[in-house]
Subunit: 348 residues, 2 copies
């Protein structure tokens, strides 16, 4: 683990990427955010007895060894993962949960096999409607509830990777070695690490991590009155300059990313006056379906003093990221437009 | 440096990526091949006094500090780099030079600034026809000739990065920290590491590394009778299975990459019978202009015994990689079709 990570809790490990490490399209594995429900496994899982099983509502339950997965048709996908609660600490009305600022997000090129390929080998039935992921978690036995999450069969068949590789290296232990589920474009909550059991079921899995949390609901509602968190929501982030930076007034490049989970971002507009006027940013760098897009905007400050920088994403149909996210009890999906106030000292 | 690298010479360090590390679209920095003319710098270059200068045939010579480069408009590009001599050891008629097999190639996402942006700031003149790169090399003083290479102004203005970032991390010391020249799609010979001086000139730079080596010429010719090595040439490589692997006869995925430098590869055909019949492979993974493209081909061996696997790239105009590369004295650009012989033990 990189010492530049900002640690929120040590055990379980919850740590976000330092904003200074968010200048690049690839987020190196050692700098990638960590979100865990239980203490970390004390040593990497041994592959000797390890199997990935597919069971439940399938014609033929299967168990794959690691080397068997490597022989199956490989898929390689650039995919951005964001913690469901990323940005929670920036909400003006506080919400419960870890205080993620902007660094609960990262982008990697993942290698693995399509879950759809595995499911077709096992043979879906008419009752194959949802797919539950269970990982080897909680070696301490302290957790009272297993971390199990399910996704609908359509997502499982169309665009979910079983990832064994991250940025060219085997999946690091803290990111789920040997494999993790990766529904493309969805928040980290559905990307179950240390995945070992895939159970096909006829309804969404019922359990704490499906019904009590990772739901968007309001005060006075029960969690199950709300909807399950699935896709990452559309937003733009500014990664240079950082809030409260002091600038010397010369031309500089405002940098950032924009991402929308399953929904591709088409454009980013930038404001340097707190939202009065907006100008399109230039989209740069790799352009891959499920990966964030980098953008840049060259800015020459027109006066000394404070400046309020903002960025706002929109999709190809003109839908725009909201100026203020709709609040919910657990503070998920904060995609309100953030303001970076910077101070210019001309001629410094 | 990764201990999986296959070291050819220690000092200067010349090492290629182990074929087992060529399964992934991103080549991790620690596994990326190393090609050096001189002993490695003993410690990372200090940024305190470091400058990147632009001089020669320009209206205004300039010097940039590292932090100034970071403020300029950022570019992010996926780009495959290959050693000019990669594949030399596989030539049937031996050629002089380091015995590269297949691992003198890798793919990274690079961040930096466009050389064109820097040149436009300095102001080209009518005499700005070539651009020479000079790095801080040879700290030992043992080398008698500086490593200087020049590229034509068209390449410098259109598609050359001054890279300061590699796969999301600052450029590692062994890959040129703080910056390296990166003419996109060209072989490593033009990607000068530890770059510190950019000189604009009115003709190609004359010197050992332009005129005596990195030229394609025949026996009896002088090097200067031949052409300078520039773009990577089109080829496909098989990265799974490796030569002489023993297989168990079950269906398996043949994996590889295809790349063509400045020329995009459009298709790859695979033969499992030594070149008698060819079938199109499936192109997978990120599709970026200057980066290799991953391909896969699912193969079920039809009998036990030896099988001869081959892959062959072609471009959008139907030009094909040659079965046998045209030989030259220094063994550059070996893009002949390679054969991986594997042995199948059915029912093993």
């Amino acid at each position: 683990m990189d010492r530049t990570l900002r640690i929120m809790t040590e055990d379980p490990l919850n740590a976000e990427t330092d904003p200074s490490s968010l200048r690049s399209w690839i987020t190196p594995n050692a700098k990638f955010f960590n979100r865990n429900q239980s203490p970390m496994l004390t040593e990497p899982i041994s592959l000797v007895d390890w199997r990935l099983t597919i069971e439940g509502e399938v014609k033929e339950p299967l168990a794959f060894r690691y080397d068997e997965l490597l022989r199956l048709p490989k898929a390689t996908v650039a995919n951005t993962v964001e913690c469901s609660g990323n940005g929670r600490a920036l909400l003006s009305t506080k919400a419960r949960g870890n205080p993620w600022t902007v660094g609960g997000v990262g982008n990697a090129v993942w290698g693995g096999v399509w879950l759809g390929d595995l499911l077709r080998l096992a043979g879906p039935t008419e009752a194959s409607l949802h797919v539950a992921f269970e990982g080897i978690d909680d070696p301490s036995g302290r957790a009272t509830v297993k971390f199990i999450r399910s996704i609908p069969i359509e997502k499982a068949l169309s665009s979910t990777l079983i990832a064994y590789e991250m940025n060219g290296d085997p999946l690091p232990p803290e990111h789920g070695f040997p494999v993790r589920g990766l529904p493309l474009g969805w928040t980290g909550a559905s990307c179950v690490k240390w995945l070992t059991r895939i159970t096909v079921i006829d309804k969404p899995y019922a359990g704490h991590f499906m019904d009590a949390v990772y739901r968007v609901f309001q005060e006075g509602q029960r969690p199950t009155d709300g909807t399950v968190v699935t896709s990452i929501v559309m937003k733009a982030i500014i990664t240079q300059p950082l809030p409260n930076e002091e600038l010397d007034g010369r031309p500089m490049t405002i940098l950032g990313f924009a991402y929308g989970g399953e929904l591709p971002v088409a454009a980013v507009d930038v404001s340097v006056d707190g939202g009065e006027r907006w100008t399109p940013a230039e989209m740069i760098g790799p352009n891959e379906r499920y990966a964030w897009r980098q953008w840049r905007y060259v800015w020459t400050p027109d006066r000394p003093g404070d400046h309020r920088l903002m960025a706002r994403a929109s999709d190809s149909e003109g839908n725009r990221q909201p100026m203020k996210a709709s609040w919910n009890v657990l503070g998920y999906g904060n995609n309100g437009v953030e303001e970076h106030v910077v101070t210019v000292h001309v001629g410094r």
